[in-house]
């Protein structure tokens, strides 16, 4: 639109299996999985008793006791991941060299402070006894829990970001849409640097119960390490995850002038709705394909140039079929040649957060020239007949990476990342 383009210059990750981008990368290229029996509470009553939990210590992550005291876990993830990303970018935000009026925050989350809201509710309602809750038991910080915008406000305050700030909350596409929004803020000239990403901390009884109720989550309780099985014929639902990732998204010239290390360029972003059903997906993948085709148009690229597809790959029966069809519809014959993988097989599905975690994976994949595998992929499904990179990471030069997401409400998002200098 304007000749302004955006690049990724910093990556921070809080993920199951290890905190920090190095541990994250190590995990997802090893093919190990971080899914396990739920330890945060007794999961006995639930249909799905597995999750990908973060072994997260906010103090070790550099948060103060007051930040921890007032913030839900999803905000804590955001502060820790953002700190890592900003440090990685080499931006000296405490110096005058950065224009804080042009520093923005675009953070996604699907369910915000749902864990804290539930924990506090137990107290105010005396364990679910009283509908007319007793407000005298309310924590001083319940408003921060009620409004997920508090997460973006915390990030803005910590880094002195006076540019536009927002939480983008489009369910399970939040993580892609937030980074896409950051890309648009830069294209439109509203910011030069955006702290962008997404977090969610949904491993709580109410979230497990609500997905139990529609049998969306895996009930492979006897085998938690192998419960997340995207594209495998025996898949039986997604495995709840948590965590987050933050990218420093920067105007290309701004990054170049300061000699920043560039992971990749954001070459295109698009989203669509299926206008079909809040949870259901048609098997044809039409709207996701539209979003993918739009990103290719923006990048002026042909499908053949895509060297890796980071799939949504949630591991539900219908998602993986829907998505496979979308790849064929948008990439044509190339869909059969390009490697497609889902890191949800290893780190679970952290709702809104996962889109950003997957973009962190894509940035690192381009950086290191390695395609992370789909763990647990053993038994092909005739309806899912692409190259899903079973179990073992694959070395390959990656010039252009496509990442997609699909979420409740019918949201379909796609984003295209390219090796520096590769995009038009």
């Amino acid at each position: 639109m304007s000749g302004r383009s955006s690049v990724v210059t910093g990556v921070g990750v809080v993920a199951p299996g290890g905190i920090g981008r190095k541990e994250f990368w190590q995990l997802i290229t090893s093919g190990r999985t971080a899914t396990r029996r739920i330890s945060f509470f007794d999961p006995d009553q639930f249909r799905s008793q597995v999750a990908a939990e973060c072994d997260f210590d906010p103090l070790a992550g550099g948060l103060t006791r007051q930040e921890i005291g007032r913030s839900d876990r999803f905000t804590q993830f955001a502060l820790v991941a953002a700190s890592e990303a900003v440090a990685d970018s080499g931006l000296e935000l405490d110096k005058e060299s950065v224009d804080h009026d042009r520093l923005a925050v675009a953070m996604g989350s699907a369910v915000g402070a749902t864990t804290r809201l539930e924990d506090e509710y137990k107290v105010l309602s005396d364990g679910g006894r009283d509908w007319l809750v007793d407000p005298r038991y309310a924590s001083r910080f319940l408003y921060e829990a009620l409004v997920p915008s508090s997460m973006a406000a915390e990030v803005a305050a910590r880094f002195g970001a006076h540019g536009p700030a927002a939480v983008i909350s489009t369910g399970c596409t939040s993580g892609i849409d937030a980074v896409g929004y950051a890309h648009q803020l830069i294209e439109d000239g509203d910011a030069d640097v955006v702290i962008a990403g997404a977090t969610d901390a949904p491993i709580s009884p109410i979230t497990m119960a609500c997905f139990d109720a529609i049998k969306a989550t895996s009930a492979r309780n006897s085998d938690p390490e192998h419960a997340s099985r995207p594209f495998d014929a025996s898949r039986d639902g997604f495995v709840m995850g948590e965590g987050g990732a933050v990218l420093v998204v920067e105007e290309a010239g701004h990054a170049r002038r300061r000699g920043a290390h560039v992971y990749c360029e954001i070459a295109g972003f698009a989203n669509r709705c299926n206008a079909f059903h809040m949870t259901g997906l048609r098997p044809d993948g039409v709207e996701m394909a539209e979003a993918i085709k739009d990103t290719l148009r923006q990048a002026k690229m042909s499908p053949e140039e895509v060297s890796y597809v980071n799939a949504h790959g949630s591991g539900t029966k219908q998602n993986d079929v829907h998505e496979t069809a979308a790849f064929k519809r948008s990439l044509g014959e190339h869909a059969y040649r390009v490697p497609v993988s889902s890191i949800k097989s290893m780190v679970g599905h952290s709702l809104g957060a996962i889109g950003s975690i997957e973009l962190a994976a894509c940035a690192l994949a381009i950086e290191f020239g390695v395609v992370p595998p789909t763990a647990n992929y053993e038994q092909p499904d005739p309806l899912c007949d692409l190259d899903y990179v079973p179990k073992t990471a694959r070395e390959a030069p990656l010039d252009v990476v496509l990442s997609v997401g699909s979420g409740f409400g019918g949201f379909q998002s796609a984003i295209l990342l390219a090796k520096p200098g590769r995009a038009a």
Binding site: Q45, R47, H100, D101, G112, L117, Y121, L124, G128, R129, W131, L132, V133, P135, S139, R140, L142, Y143, E144, L146, V147, P148, S149, S150, A152, A153, A156, G160, H162, G163, P164, A165, A166, V167, I168, S169, D177, Y181, D188, D190, P205, I206, A209, C210, D212, A213, I214, A270, N271, R272, C273, N274, A275, M278, T279, E290, F408, G409, G410, F411
Partner: protein
């Protein structure tokens, strides 16, 4: 770049369902902040709110959908119906990808959420509704509107507390500028269940007066906090050229300028100065290609606490300089309470109706302005030509947004 215009508006507010009913009540100066009726709020610090009386789901959607959705979604669906009818816009008559949806959301479907958490802890996980996963989350309204009307264009949900109504329009503008001809924007809220009220009370900014007259009083010497409220507004935004091509001959206003800034000061305390709100207003005016002299009317955020009101007054003074005392300022939300993201969306509609009718409603429930403020607060409905309006909104935690509406399309 083609202009972006508003071709239809839909309102659900404590003072009226439908833009006409709302507007009449607002000009009549009726106070619609009342003691909370939805439940026994006597144990709460805040006991008054702006409620939409007699708002029933069955008037706007079928029972099957009603059980799947929270009250805030019913209001979004109703406001959307009104806006589409007002604009004469038929989603299905054009390419489905040509219409998007971008709504603000403050707190989602809290009543539905409370009910299901209650069910879980009182009765166990099998008592939790199959619709919990789709009813309470912040994206529910955008998804339901997209499904109901068949829109497949780029869509989103922008969460910036009370600024969300303006930011949804800012988002919609980006979508339209990238080639999608029309976007439904705005937002609704329905945060008046027991648990949500307890959560809101924790922010320390709500009135504790049981008397609506003494409750939410923006810019008043007795400003003592706000009353919460439910409702909001949805607008049909279109590319001006596309709207003309489909034969639209009535446009409310152009979205001429937009800006957002953040205080980045403290998670709770208001900023120590008005720098970022001032910058936001100036940027929005400059974005419209205008100067402060061009602004006919300011629709203020009017937070209703003395510190936040004083900050906004300072920002208006800095923005308008020597002309500050001459620019009419109003905040009709004093009549209905603060509707969070729904409220800022609704104030855009106020600005457009003021343009249409050449009349500006009064600041709601303002009895005695703080003497030192020195602004021209509108005290009675004022007949005047209104061509350019600046609308402000703020969100808890430091969000600032401003939009400039212009009657004459550039």
């Amino acid at each position: 770049m083609s202009a972006i215009v508003v071709t239809g508006v839909g309102v659900v507010a404590p003072s009226g369902v439908g833009a006409d009913a709302y507007w009449k009540s607002t000009l009549d100066g009726e106070l619609h902040v009342r003691p909370i009726e939805a439940f026994d709020a006597s144990g709460y610090d805040t006991t008054i709110a702006g409620q939409v009386p007699d708002f029933r789901s069955e008037d706007y959607l079928d029972d099957r959908l009603a059980v799947q959705t929270d009250r805030w979604t019913w209001m979004a669906l109703a406001a959307t119906e009104f806006a589409l009818a007002d604009a004469g816009y038929d989603v299905t008559a054009r390419d489905r990808y040509h219409t998007g949806v971008a709504f603000g959301s403050g707190s989602g479907g809290v009543e539905f959420g409370q009910r299901e958490i209650q069910a879980l802890w009182a009765q166990g996980r099998r008592a939790v509704s199959a619709y919990q996963s789709i009813a309470w989350f912040y994206a529910a309204n955008t998804g339901q509107v997209s499904i109901k009307h068949g829109t497949k264009g780029p869509s989103s949900v922008v969460v910036t507390d009370g600024a969300g109504g303006l930011d949804s329009v800012g988002y919609a503008r980006r979508v339209i500028r990238r080639g999608t001809p029309a976007v439904l924007a705005g937002g609704t809220e329905a945060p008046l269940c027991p648990y949500s009220l307890a959560c809101q009370s924790a922010n320390g900014r709500m009135t504790t007066s049981p008397d609506p007259r003494h409750g939410y009083k923006p810019f008043d010497v007795d400003a003592n906090g706000y009353a919460p409220g439910e409702g909001g507004a949805v607008m049909v935004l279109e590319d001006a050229g596309e709207a003309k091509r489909r034969g639209v001959n009535r446009v409310y206003a152009e979205i001429a300028g937009y800006a957002a800034t953040h205080d980045a000061y403290h998670h709770h305390r208001p900023s120590g100065d008005c720098t970022q709100l001032t910058r936001c207003m100036r940027k929005a005016i400059a974005d419209a290609g205008l100067s402060p002299e061009d602004i006919d009317l300011v629709l203020a955020d009017g937070a209703g606490t003395s510190d936040l009101d004083a900050l906004e007054v300072s920002a208006i003074k800095e923005t308008f300089g020597s002309r500050a005392g001459k620019v009419p300022v109003t905040a009709p939300q004093g009549f209905i309470g603060r509707l969070c993201a729904g409220g800022s969306a609704l104030n855009l509609v106020v600005g457009m109706l003021a343009m249409r009718d050449g009349v500006v409603p009064a600041v709601g429930n303002l009895a005695e302005p703080v003497p030192g403020y020195g602004l021209d607060f509108v005290r009675q409905p004022r007949r005047m030509p209104v061509n350019v309006v600046l609308v402000n909104a703020r969100g808890y935690g430091g969000f600032n947004s401003s939009i400039v509406l212009r009657k004459e399309i550039s």
